[in-house]
């Protein structure tokens, strides 16, 4: 306990001072900024189709007299998606052009995008999918779903876990027994089956917003039990510390003790737990969407995009760019794990790995 940094600003400074911590935080900041500004960064909407340009490869960028440009392609065999660059023909990249309207942060109506090309041509930084939608744009829009699901999910499950586990550990008695038996029940059922069963229990004709909500709720429902057990243990051990006795003798109410004395001492655990469990939510959403019972078309999520990349054609013709959502999931999960490990190293010297 005594090794905890007293102030949280010191904690973050220590995380950044370690290379892996700085890397993880930088990467996550970049990913979340991309998700936040997705409509602005994406040249096209998530469901803008172009049936003339299906399975288009990433457009090459070149430098011409007019400035940065993209090469133009000709489809030599529509059945096989064999695109050939047309020699000498390019379209210049425009900066901050007007495009399809959107609302930035869901609030401010806006039509500007970061970049684009003239409307007859297309810029596909990461190629296009089976209906000619821009993979780069969909990746950005998908990030909004995939990245936010972890944050919301972890807030709910840690919130529930904190209340259930904290009260169970502090007060004990029948409430403790009730919480512990419930978590044991939940943990006895393999997660994936419970996930599928819960999802199956609800009809599938939901709007994508409702499905999103449903996924978050299902994943949090599965996730709170582990957190509750750990928090209960921590609350029990904190409860046994004499400063809690001192607070009782002082005359503090139980709620005030929980709030002022237990919660701050749990904060570092909560931080590490969030960082380490967010990947579970991201992977959970990806798994559900991959199995076709998660986010539905035309909305985008990384899992859904990967599900669409399962077609035989993708493997036969080596449309590698359709697998970029997988890389995005990998990067995000790795960054969160790295951040969690670093936080734990900083907070808990007993788990410290390697030399500092």
């Amino acid at each position: 306990m005594s090794s905890l940094p007293a102030k949280s600003s010191g904690l973050w400074r220590q995380v950044i001072s370690r290379p892996q911590g700085a890397l993880a935080l930088g990467l996550l900041a970049f990913l979340y900024l991309c998700a936040l500004f997705a409509p602005f960064l994406a040249p096209y909407g998530p469901s803008d189709q172009d049936l003339q340009r299906t399975y288009h490869p990433p457009t090459a960028l070149t430098w011409t007299r007019e400035g940065l440009s993209v090469r133009l392609y000709k489809n030599s065999d529509p059945t096989q998606a064999l695109y050939q660059p047309i020699p000498g023909k390019t379209a210049v990249v425009r900066w901050l052009p007007l495009g399809h309207p959107y609302r930035l942060f869901g609030l401010f109506p806006c039509r500007r995008h970061l970049f684009g090309v003239e409307s007859k041509q297309k810029i596909y930084l990461l190629g296009s999918d089976s209906t000619g939608r821009d993979v780069f744009s969909r990746l950005l829009y998908g990030a909004q779903v995939s990245l936010s699901i972890g944050l919301i999910g972890i807030s709910i499950s840690l919130g529930v876990g904190l209340i259930a586990g904290g009260l169970a550990g502090y007060f004990g008695g029948w409430f403790d027994s009730l919480v512990m038996r419930t978590t044991e029940l939940l943990m006895a059922i393999p997660g994936l089956y419970l996930l599928l069963a819960l999802r199956g229990a609800f009809a599938s004709q939901f709007s994508s917003g409702e499905v999103y909500l449903l996924i978050v709720i299902i994943l949090s429902f599965l996730g709170w039990s582990g957190a509750a057990r750990v928090i209960r243990g921590l609350a029990l051990s904190l409860r046994a510390q004499t400063f809690v006795d001192a607070a009782i003798v002082t005359g503090l109410s139980p709620w005030r003790i929980l709030w002022r004395h237990l919660l701050p001492n749990l904060a570092s655990y909560l931080l590490v737990a969030s960082a380490l469990s967010i990947p579970g939510y991201i992977l959970g959403e990806a798994a559900l969407s991959f199995l076709g019972i998660g986010i539905q078309e035309p909305a985008a999520s990384w899992g859904l995009m990967l599900a669409q990349a399962q077609e035989m054609k993708v493997f036969m013709c080596n449309f590698w760019w359709l697998l970029t959502p997988g890389a995005a999931v990998f990067l995000t999960v790795a960054a969160f794990n790295l951040l969690g490990d670093t936080l734990r190293d900083v907070i808990d010297p007993h788990f410290r790995t390697g030399n500092r």
């Binding site: 905890l4 029948w174 027994s177 400063f243 001192a246 003798v249 701050p264």
Partner: protein
Amino acid sequence: MLLEVANLVVRYPLPGGLFFRSRRFVEPVKGVSFRIRAGRTVGLVGESGSGKTTIGKAVVRLIAPHSGEIRYRQERIDGLSGARLHPYRKRVQMIFQDPHNSLNPRLSIARILGEPLEIHFPALRAQERRSRAADLLRRVGLPSDSLDRFPHEFSGGQRQRIGIARALAVEPELIVCDEPVSALDVSIQAQIVNLLQDLQQELGLAYLFISHDLAVVEHMSDEVLVLNEGRIVEAAPPEELYRNPKNEYTRKLLAAVPSL
């Protein structure tokens, strides 16, 4: 009479049972009676595990007695709970055995000392609380610029002083001192004991002074209770205890004290 304890019995339930508490228990305190007068010190000695802390905790109502009576200024307090204990909390405080655990590592000294003030003197404004906390620090012999520091920045003896300041904050009449010096160096032990004696003179405090060390208790107390396995086997003024120990167990305890 400030505090009267009669036939105090304390039980702890043993763990077990799937949903409900098991009916098995341990009984570390088996019918203890004693009294404390205002401004006096009663020493409580006994070997480790004899139930000293448990008695202290029952007196400050950290645990509820199984049976017996605790009266404070004639008023029964053994059955009270929650908000009804509030007035009692302002009068009876405790200093704890382990100075490393008794201060929340996440709170600054100002917050630690401000908390009892906030609760028992709600009329005080933040600035007044702060200056009172600084006064308390000065009174226990710590520089008042310690206010914005955190417990880990202090030594064991200094932390024990902070614990004393926290107990003093509510202006109590009785303080249960649970082995306040046994975790400290011998040289610092004397300083803390002297501080407690000075405070007693100055503020007219009564102490229930718990220790396993007869020498410390003798130095402090007007009356000494010898506790063995949850029962008081002898109660006498310290000089008499030394001169003429009546009980076999007391003699054994005395024999273990290194003669100075």
